[in-house]
Amino acid sequence: MRKIAFIVLAFALVTSSQVFGQASLPGDEGGPRESPEQRRCPDGKIKTVCEPHDYLGCGDIKGCA
């Protein structure tokens, strides 16, 4: 029994390094970001839009050429 306990302990020590290396997530704070969003146009140029349209109600501020 003690042999098994020792092996389990050794295994836990070896694998614990992965756990210590993990990052944690910041808290769930704040609402949706209200920054303009850059998008590609079909020709590859970039347009800047305010998104989501319905949320901010500002629509395109610089459209595709």
Partner: protein, 402 residues
């Protein structure tokens, strides 16, 4: 109480100890090997744009096939963005409607997954969508949730999702996120499972709050490895099938690099554009697509040069050319490569631009066109005069698939 005096040397004989130590050594070495495999290797690839010669579409493609995305009476695309192909259907995220439109391979409308509201089993906005194991996942950064639908558009389930607007990829038991340089995070990419979080690519200060929505986003190949063209950068990231960062391919354009610090100092105004145009600088990799046996990169520079580079699976350049002339059917197919089916590079264009081609009547009667242009024009004459959208499928030359 005596039993608590645990001495391993008394409990195990010498051969057992040797066996135990050997097992531990094996376990440690396996883990080291595993970590090595996830070593975040950086590979630099030098590209000399000055050595590129003018080329033709036939250098890359065998033929072109046009498909009109046909509207029905109430379902019409307004701002088609991400285009994905899955099990014989075409899925398109419409950024204006916050909806997914599904079409068959001939462009016939099948169904639509709509943004209906902020209540249970609904989504309000769509940052991105991902299809995994016959399930369509929609991420809503406003309502902080992800909503799942079947391939026939039926609601399946919803889950909380803490992330704000992000591009995302739904893998088997993991998610990948591009976090849009959210200041709450020090990193640009996250891999997340139910039990762990792995951050990748440190976010530079000058990118804070820079939000970029790429029409391609995360892509996977047949081996379920995942690729991502990092916005505002010259890097393509490769993740293994478990979602761990495997390789960062960094493209170096030499004197055509636009130093990141410089571009953000110049802002987004005319100074930025002029500086970039005058010096023929590369802003970023405009499009990176994963094909079955190749990768394709398209670069659109502000000085109007447009370069194509085809890489084989070892990331060696198998073709490079600039300003490709369409010698397959002579339409001005000069849009950016928008999506991929694996065998074809897919372009998106609207009908008004397509029909405004001055030479359309002249070229449609030319013999030997390597496309379905004539049939396409005859079959869709009524819909082509209205504001609709076309997908052009350019088939990659078979010599590149060997």
């Amino acid at each position: 109480m005596n039993k608590l005096n645990f001495n391993i040397w008394e409990e195990f004989n010498s051969s057992q100890i040797r066996l135990l130590l050997l097992s531990l050594l094996l376990l440690i070495s396996c883990e080291v090997k595993d970590l090595e495999r996830r070593r975040n290797e950086v590979i630099n690839i030098e590209i000399d744009l000055d050595s590129f010669k003018e080329g033709k579409l036939s250098d890359l493609y065998d033929s072109i096939y046009y498909v009109l995305l046909k509207p029905d009476s109430i379902n019409f695309l307004a701002d088609p963005y991400k285009v994905k192909f899955y099990k014989n259907l075409i899925y398109i995220r419409d950024a204006f409607h916050n909806s997914i439109f599904a079409y068959d391979q001939k462009g016939n409308f099948q169904y639509r997954i709509n943004s209906t509201g902020k209540g249970p089993n609904e989504f309000f906005t769509m940052d991105d969508f991902s299809i995994n194991r016959d399930t369509i996942w929609i991420k809503d950064g406003v309502l902080k949730k992800e909503v799942a639908f079947s391939l026939t558009g039926q609601f399946l389930l919803e889950k909380a999702n803490v992330f704000k607007r992000a591009m995302f990829y739904k893998g088997n038991n993991f998610n990948l996120y591009y976090l849009n340089n959210d200041p709450e995070f020090d990193f640009r990419i996250l891999r997340k499972t139910a039990h762990e979080v792995n951050p990748y690519i440190l976010r530079p200060e000058y990118l804070i709050n820079n939000i970029f929505s790429d029409p391609v986003g995360f892509q996977s190949n047949k081996d379920m490895e995942v690729y991502f063209n990092l916005p505002n950068d010259y890097s393509v990231l490769k993740f293994d099938s478990l979602g761990f960062l495997d390789t960062q391919y960094v493209f170096d354009f030499g004197i055509k690099n636009f130093k990141f610090e410089d571009r953000f100092k110049l802002g987004e105004g005319i100074d930025h554009f002029d500086y970039s145009e005058e010096n023929g600088l590369v802003e970023s990799i405009t499009s990176f697509l994963v094909l079955d046996k190749n990768y394709i990169i398209y670069i659109r520079r502000n000085d109007q040069n447009k370069e194509y580079i085809l890489f084989n699976q070892e990331f060696s350049q198998s073709y490079k050319g600039k300003n490709l002339v369409n010698d397959l059917d002579f339409t001005p197919l000069n849009e950016m490569p928008w999506s991929s089916t694996g065998k074809e590079v897919v372009y998106l264009m609207n009908t008004s631009k397509f029909m405004s081609m001055s030479n359309l009547n002249e070229i449609k009667n030319k013999p030997g066109l390597k496309s379905n242009l004539n049939h396409f024009l005859n079959e869709n004459s009524s819909n082509l005069t209205e504001e609709n959208f076309i997908l052009a499928f350019a088939k990659v030359k078979s010599k590149f698939n060997n």
